[in-house]
C-alpha cells in the first residue's frame, strides 16, 4: 500500500512537471488556442457563441475557457487543464491497481508522456486534449463499480460530443460493450441511464442557447457546417494511410502505437480474458483517429495538410488498450518479467527523450516573434478600444484581442474558410458584413498581410477585400521592418 502511494505521488509529480512545460510563460500561441481564449473572455462580457462570433466547434470548449478566464486568466486555464491531467492520472492508476495490472504506473505515465508530447500537442487547452481526458474518465467509469456507472457514461458521452463531435465515435465500442456484457442492471434500464446522462449535458446547453436566441446559429455552425463543408473534402484512402504514418512517425507516437496495436492483436490470438473489452479498446484506439478520416485537410493550396494535434486523443486510446492487454492477457509476454521489461522501455524511451528535449529547450512566450512583433509593440503604445482592432487572416495575432481586453468588430474572428473552400461565401455577402462592421465601428486598425490575399479561393472575394482595405486603410510604417502588417484607417478629408 505504501509503495502504491509513493508510485501515485511519483505519477502525479511527473504529470505536473509535464503540464508545467505548458504553463502560461511557456505556452506558445497557435491560432485555435488564441481564438478559444478570446471566446472565453467574450462570454464573460456577455457575448454568445455562434451568434456573436463564428466558429464550428461544439460549445463546451467556450465554457471551459470562460471558466478558466474567470478564475484567473491564462493561469486559471492552466490550472483546469493540469488539474484534469492529474485527476485522469490518479483515476487511471487506481483502475490499474484495482485490476492487479503488472506495472500499474505504466499506462498512466504513457498517457501523460503522449498527452504532453510537444511534437503532437502544439500546446494545451484544445478540444481534443479535453476529449482525451474524457475518454479516460469514460473508461475508468466503465471499469468502476459505482451504482451510477451508466448515468456517468452517458454524461461523459455528452461531454465528449459537445466538446468535439468527431471524438464521440471512439466511445461507441465501449458503449456497445457496456450494453452487451452481463450486468445485473437490465439492458433497458442501462439505455435509460445512458440517455439520462447524455440529456443532462444536452438540455442545459440547448436551454442556454434557446434563451439567448442562438439555437439556430449553434445548429448551423457547430453541426450543419461540419457535415456540409468541413468533412466533405476527399482524400484517398492511401493518402489517409500515409498521413497517419507520417504523423505517428513525426510525432514520436509510432513505437507506442505499434507496440499497443501488436500486443492488442496478439492478445486476441491467445487465451486472454475479456476479449470483448480488448476488441473494444482496439476499436476505440483506432476510432480516436476519426478526424483524419472525416476530412481531407486541404489547406487551399491543393496539398494535403496533416493536423498533427488531431491525433492527441490517441494518447488515451493507446493507454487504455495497453491497460486492457496488461490486465487481461493471461499468457502474453506481459506476464513474464523479463519479457515485459523490454516493452516497457520501448514504450517510454522515445517519449521520455522527447519530453526531455522539450523540457530542456523551452521557449518563453515573451520571446515569440508574434508577441514581440513591431505591430503589437506599436499597439501597446496606442492601445485600441473595443472594436478598434481587427485581425484578418493573421491567426497568431488574435492573441491581441485578449491582451488588450477588446472585442473584435466582426463576428468573423476565424477566417480560414475563405482560403480553404471555393464554395465558401460565393457571393461575398459574409465578407461584406465584415466590411460593414468595420465601417460601422469605424475600426482604427487592421492586422493583415496584403501579400497573403492570394490565399482567397474566390477571386471576387479577394478583389472585394483588397479594394475595401486599400480604399479605407493605409499601412502603418514600422521601425526596423520593411513590411508592415498593421493598417490604419485613413483620416477623413
Amino acid at each position: 500500500m505504501k509503495t502504491s502511494r509513493y508510485t501515485l505521488l511519483f505519477l502525479m509529480a511527473a504529470s505536473l512537471v509535464l503540464s508545467a512545460f505548458y504553463c502560461p510563460p511557456f505556452d506558445l500561441g497557435i491560432s485555435d488556442k488564441e481564438i478559444f481564449t478570446y471566446t472565453g473572455w467574450a462570454i464573460s462580457k456577455g457575448l454568445v457563441p455562434y451568434r456573436d462570433f463564428v466558429d464550428h466547434k461544439p460549445p463546451l470548449i467556450y465554457f471551459v475557457h470562460f471558466a478558466g478566464i474567470a478564475s484567473g486568466g491564462p493561469w486559471g486555464l492552466w490550472v483546469i487543464n493540469a488539474g484534469l491531467a492529474l485527476l485522469a492520472t490518479a483515476l487511471f492508476f487506481h483502475c490499474c491497481r484495482r485490476h492487479d495490472t503488472p506495472f500499474p504506473w505504466l499506462p498512466p505515465l504513457l498517457f501523460n508522456l503522449m498527452l504532453r508530447d510537444n511534437l503532437i500537442s502544439e500546446g494545451i487547452n484544445m478540444t481534443r486534449e479535453y476529449t482525451a481526458f474524457l475518454y479516460l474518465f469514460f473508461f475508468c467509469t466503465l471499469r468502476s463499480r459505482t451504482r451510477y456507472r451508466h448515468f456517468l457514461l452517458g454524461l461523459l458521452t455528452g461531454l465528449t460530443f459537445f466538446m468535439q463531435q468527431d471524438q464521440a465515435p471512439a466511445l461507441i465500442p465501449f458503449l456497445f460493450y457496456a450494453l452487451f456484457t452481463i450486468d445485473p442492471v437490465p439492458a433497458g434500464r442501462r439505455i435509460a441511464w445512458l440517455t439520462a446522462g447524455f440529456l443532462s449535458i444536452l438540455l442545459p446547453l440547448v436551454t442556454w442557447f434557446a434563451l439567448h436566441h442562438a439555437l439556430g446559429d449553434l445548429w448551423r455552425q457547430a453541426f450543419l457546417f461540419n457535415w456540409q463543408t468541413y468533412t466533405t473534402q476527399r482524400k484517398s484512402f492511401g493518402d489517409h494511410f500515409r498521413s497517419v504514418k507520417r504523423v505517428l512517425d513525426n510525432g514520436n507516437y509510432e513505437i507506442a502505437f505499434m507496440v499497443s496495436l501488436v500486443l492488442g492483436f496478439t492478445a486476441l490470438i491467445g487465451r486472454s480474458r475479456k476479449k470483448g473489452l480488448i476488441v473494444a479498446a482496439l476499436a476505440g484506439m483506432l476510432l480516436t483517429m476519426t478526424p483524419e478520416f472525416l476530412g481531407g485537410r486541404w489547406n487551399g493550396f491543393d496539398s494535403a495538410i496533416d493536423y498533427i494535434y488531431y491525433f492527441l486523443p490517441l494518447s488515451a486510446g493507446i493507454a487504455v488498450l495497453l491497460f486492457t492487454v496488461l490486465a487481461f492477457d493471461d499468457e502474453n509476454i506481459v506476464h513474464r518479467p523479463m519479457a515485459r521489461l523490454p516493452l516497457v522501455v520501448l514504450l517510454c524511451a522515445s517519449l521520455t527523450y522527447t519530453a526531455f528535449q522539450h523540457g530542456s529547450h523551452l521557449l518563453r512566450r515573451s520571446d515569440d516573434p508574434v508577441i514581440n512583433s513591431p505591430e503589437l509593440n506599436y499597439l501597446r503604445q496606442h492601445r485600441p478600444d473595443n472594436f478598434q482592432l481587427y485581425v484578418f487572416q493573421q491567426d497568431d495575432y488574435i492573441a491581441a484581442y485578449y491582451e488588450f481586453h477588446i472585442l473584435s468588430p466582426s463576428r468573423f474572428i476565424y477566417q480560414h474558410f475563405w482560403s480553404w473552400y471555393d464554395n465558401w461565401d460565393p457571393d461575398g455577402s459574409q465578407l461584406r458584413t465584415v466590411c460593414d462592421d468595420l465601417g460601422r465601428h469605424h475600426t482604427t486598425y487592421i492586422i493583415t498581410d496584403a501579400d497573403r490575399t492570394p490565399s482567397f479561393r474566390n477571386p471576387r472575394n479577394r478583389t472585394l477585400w483588397l479594394s475595401f482595405l486599400t480604399s479605407h486603410y493605409e499601412p502603418v510604417p514600422m521601425p526596423d521592418s520593411h513590411r508592415s502588417l498593421l493598417w490604419k484607417i485613413k483620416s477623413q478629408p
Binding site: 505499434m258 507496440v259 501488436v262 496478439t266 519479457a339 521489461l341 522515445s350
Partner: protein
Amino acid sequence: MTKKQSYGLLILLGVSLALSAMYCPPVNPAYEDTEFFRYCGWALLRGQVPYRDFFDHKPPLIYFFNAAGVALGHWGLWMITTSFALVVTGLFYRLCCRYRLPYPWVLPLLFNLMLRDNLISNGINFTREYSTYFVMLFFLVMMGRSRARHLLLGFFAGLVFFMQQEQLLILAPFFICLLWEKDGQSVRIRLLHWAAGFCLVALPLIGFFAARRSLGFFWTDAYLVNLNTYIREYKSPGDHFRAVKYILDAGNYEIPFMLALILGISALLSRGSQTPSPEGRARNGGKPLVLASLFALPLSMAAEWMGGRLAGTAVFKDVMGYFLPVSASVCILLFSVFAFSGDPAFTSRRIQLPYILLLCSSLVYTAFQHATHLTRRNYGQDVTGPEAAFLDRQSLSDYQLYIMWDEDFATYYNQRKILCPSRFFYQHFWTWYPAWDPDHHDLESIAASLLHHHTTWLLMDPADLARMKNAADRDWWRNFIQTHYHRISLPGKPDSNLWQINDP
C-alpha cells in the same frame, strides 16, 4: 534442412530477389557516388589506376567491384550486389535453422528489408552496402564450423577494411570475443590465421598499386586524407545523438534498432538457463556474444561518430546511407539474443510473435511504398538540357570535357564513355573544407591537365564558385577560367554553363 525449411529458404530468396529488383538498372535511382564509382570501374578497365589517375578517398575495393560489374555489362553491378544479398540471406537462414530459432526466416527477412530500405540506402552499389555483406559473412563464418574459420575471418576483415575502413570497427568486439573463446587452436595460431586471411586481401592490392608506382597515392588519398581532413570536423555529442535519432526515425530503422538494443540489454540482465544449444554449448554461454553484438551496434554507426558532416554550409548534413551497416548489426544482435539467451522470455515462440510483427511491419510498409512508386530511368538519356544536346553534337573524345561541381551532369562521362581530363573528378572537398588545398596546388594540377589535353569544353555554373570555402582558391580558379575559357551561348540558354577554351 527439412522440407519445410527448404520451402522457407526458397521464399526468402524470392523475397530478397524481389527487394533487390527494386534497384535494378531500369529503376535504380541516380546518385552521384554510385555514378562516380561506375566511372572509376570503367576507367580501371581502360588502364587507369585508382588514386593516381582519379582522386578519391575511399579504399580501393569498390573500384575493382565496379570494374567487374562494368565488365559484366549494364546489369553487372546489380547482379553482383543481388548475388551477395542472396548468399548472405541463404547462409543466415541456414544458421537460424541450425540454432533452432522459433521463426528462422525472420532475421534474414529483416536484414533484407533494412538493407533495401530506400529511405536509408539511396540505391545500391555503395561501399557501406558491400561492407555490410562482408560483416554478415564474417559473422556467419564466426558462427560456423569450418576448419578455415579463422583464416576466413581475417579474409573478411580485410575485405571490410579495403572496402570501407571505419566499418572494421564493427568487427573489433567479435575479434575480442573470439580471443576469449575456448577453441582447439591457441591464441597465437588464431592471430596468425587472421593475419594470413587479412594478407590474402591486402597483399594483392598492395602488389597492384606497387607495380603501378602508385602506392604513395593510395596511402595519401585513401588513408591520410581521411585521417587529416575527413574525420576532423567537430560535432557535439548532443548533435551526434540528435543526428542518430533523426536518421533512425526518418529511415524507419527506429523500431528494429530500439528493439534490438533493449532486448540485447535485457538478455544480458537475464538469468540464462543451462539448456544446451545445438552446438553443445550452454545457452547462457552466449552472453559474451550478446555483449560483443551490443558493442557492435553503435560501432556500426562509426561513420556518424567520426565526422561532423558539415556540408560546407555550416548546416549539419546527415548522410542517411552511412547507417546502412546498422542492418547487419541489428540482425546480429537479435540473433545473439534469440539463439543464446536461455530465458524463455526471449526464446518462446509465443513471446517472439509480437517482436516479429514490430520488427517487420513498418519496414514491409516502406518496401511496399517504394515498390509501388518506382521511377523508371532511361540510363544513357539522363543527362539532358541545352548543354548536353550541344555536347552530343560535338562527338567528344576522351579528355575533351571537364565537369566542375555539377554532380548530376557528371553522369555524362559514363553515358558517353569519355575519360575525365583531370584526376579530380570528385571536387567536394573544395566546397567542404577551408583548409583543403590552401596553396591551390591541386587546382593548378587541374588547370595543367586541362591545358595539357587542350580540353575544349568546361561545364561549370559560375554561381558554384561561391561554394569554394577558400577565397584564395576561388580567386585563383576564377582567374584561370577567365584567362583560358569563355562562356558560350546556346540556343534556349544564352547564359549556359558551358565554357569553351580560348583559341591559342
